[in-house]
Amino acid sequence: MPEREITFAQAVREALAEEMRRDSHVCIFGEDVAEAGTPFKVLSGLVEEFGAKRVVDTPISEAGFTGVAVGAAMTGMRPVVDIMFGDFITLTMDQMVNQAAKVHYMSGGHWRVPMVMRTTLGATRRSAAQHSQSLHAWFSHVPGLKVVLPSTPYDAKGLLKTAIRDENPVIFFEDKMMYKLKGPVPEEDYTIPLGVADVKRAGDDITLVATSSMVQVALGAAILLEKEGISAEVVDPRTTWPLDEKTLIDSAKKTSRVIVLDEGYGRYGVTAELAAVIAEGAFYDLDAPVKRMGAMHVPIPFSPPLEDVTVPTEQTVFDAARQLCGKA
């Protein structure tokens, strides 16, 4: 029997539905999450199955309902909060960072905050500067939080289920351009542990460490590179925290050349940490400096020809990799 293929959005929905069936404490808060199933239609059908007490439409109060989720998580529920665009996490930083991330520690281990925040990242949707950011570096910076960046339907489902079962606040970033991406997802229940990188493609000459949206870009670039006789390994950390440093470093040691790809802004972002970790861990094995590729350092412009150059593409990654391998 051929493996079942579903979209990224379906994978997210299945994970939620299965966990909600499994555990009556799981509930969802967010804007237009019920009948509308979110503007991206990711949650369609959930309110019909679980009712409006568990799939709860909120006012446009990101700080407010995130705070409510923190309190609900402390007292027995397992809320999943939906923040429509990742740009709106700006409104939730106090609740996530000063409350959710610290409650367990500050209470000496008494209270727990088992909640998930689902939100989006990614540009090239012509949504302009306030609807296109990939701000996951901020949460990755904060002790007490875990950050998940799925890059395939399979990973999305398995990681989201784990995130919901986790006893800590977990932020789950979905690339909004990937919702329609199809991929194999088994029917059976499975989970994927947080903190385990996945080698999405094995290779020998260069390592492309890529997160979220950039994994598909890296895989595309790897095919182009193959035609040039360059064998690229694509490593997806899958979670920026916990971070599977070993898999990253091992791959770097093997290939001795590394490009790190992430759709967040380059400076002081995820690529900096990954590059620093690899540069330190594979110091004696690298043949060239780790190259970082992230979003260009500008607010995302609306105009299509401008927006298109702000993020790494298969072509730019291909070019950079060739150059790094001394073939350009």
Partner: protein, 334 residues
């Protein structure tokens, strides 16, 4: 009333009145036809991304902006084309912005949700619900600190009532007696959710609690909107402090141009009712005809003129060039 009309003062007042409302009529028609073109451009797959149409709500933007001076400030929303036009922007540069062209108000960098027009005091549309309440309040702070008598108007949808920043800003504005007017466009829906599901208690009460002067008005009647706006603007200009104005209105189209199947959150009858019985352009045209300020042909003439203008504007925008790729790194820092 022969005596009255023979009085030169009254008759010039009537002439002004006539001019004023014909101008308002033209402004409302401009918005309506602008949005028609936006939808058309979207349908022809010429528009990058989405847009949120203002059709149905024209009397709010026009009624308010006609009470403002050109140097007064406004802040606008994701549903901002109406505010922008009503404050005086020209459709060609707006369309250019919507298509991401260099001739656009923001050189194509902002798009529909961020159009700003310094020449007419438009501080910008904003894609963060409630995101501009601080900006409008700050503009009012400057107006006063710089010794001008400018006023700032903050437009927002009733969905922004969910955002705490609104209450923070109203508190500050009232404490400091700033010349800012918060205009709540209650079109009944936050995206796909009826506002009663997201809004407890009373809308006006949320402003009076902070000591603001508050009023509500039929947002489909441009004259009513303008009357109360004129009063609140005058009050603010004179230093008496901020105000809140709730305008009850309706958006005819979907939340955005792609929101086609809407029956799961609102009925076709409801939409039809507003279009047929509450249309702001119809309401004003009926009155203009009654007053004898225009006949049907004159009104049709306005519509034709405006339509031609909008078509030309779209053509201009389609033909206009994109910014050069080197523009991408410009304007990050001033």
């Amino acid at each position: 009333m022969t005596t009255a009309t023979s009085n030169p003062e009254t008759s010039s007042a009537a002439a002004t009145e006539k001019e004023k409302w014909l101008r308002a009529y033209r402004q409302m028609v401009s918005i309506r036809l602008f949005e028609e073109q936006v939808n058309e451009v979207y349908t022809r797959a010429l528009m990058p991304g989405l847009a949120h149409l203002y059709s149905g709500e024209e009397a709010v933007a026009v009624g308010i902006c006609e009470a403002l001076r050109i140097d007064d400030y406004i802040t606008s929303t994701h549903r901002g084309h109406g505010h922008c036009l009503a404050k005086g922007a020209s459709p060609d540069r707006m369309f250019a912005e919507l298509l991401g062209k260099e001739a656009g108000y923001c050189r194509g960098k902002g798009g529909s949700m961020h159009i700003a027009d310094p020449a007419t005091g438009n501080l910008g549309a904003n894609a963060i619900v409630g995101g501009s309440v601080g900006i409008a309040t700050g503009a009012a702070f400057s107006a006063r600190a710089l010794g001008t008598d400018r006023v700032a108007v903050c437009f927002f949808g009733e969905g922004a009532l969910g955002q705490g920043s609104l209450y923070e800003a109203m508190n500050l504005a009232q404490l400091w007696k700033l010349p800012v007017i918060y205009v709540c466009e209650n079109n009944l829906y936050n995206e796909y959710t009826h506002y009663t599901e997201t809004t407890a208690g009373s809308i006006l009460g949320r402003a009076t609690a902070f000591g603001l002067e508050a009023a509500s008005v039929d947002g489909q009647d441009v004259r009513a909107v303008n009357e109360v706006a004129t009063r609140l603007v005058k009050r603010a200009r004179s230093g008496a402090g901020p105000a809140f104005l709730q305008c009850d209105t309706y958006r005819y189209s979907g939340h955005h141009v792609g929101d086609i199947n809407r029956e799961y959150y609102r009925s076709k009858q409801e939409e039809q009712h507003w279009r047929t019985d509450r249309d702001p352009i119809k309401v004003l045209s009926k009155w203009l005809l009654e007053q004898g300020y225009a006949d049907a042909a004159a009104l049709d003439g306005i519509t034709s003129e405006v339509r031609a203008l909008m078509e030309a504007a779209v053509k201009f925008a389609i033909a206009a060039p994109y910014p050069g790729v080197d523009e991408v790194e410009k304007h990050v820092y001033a």
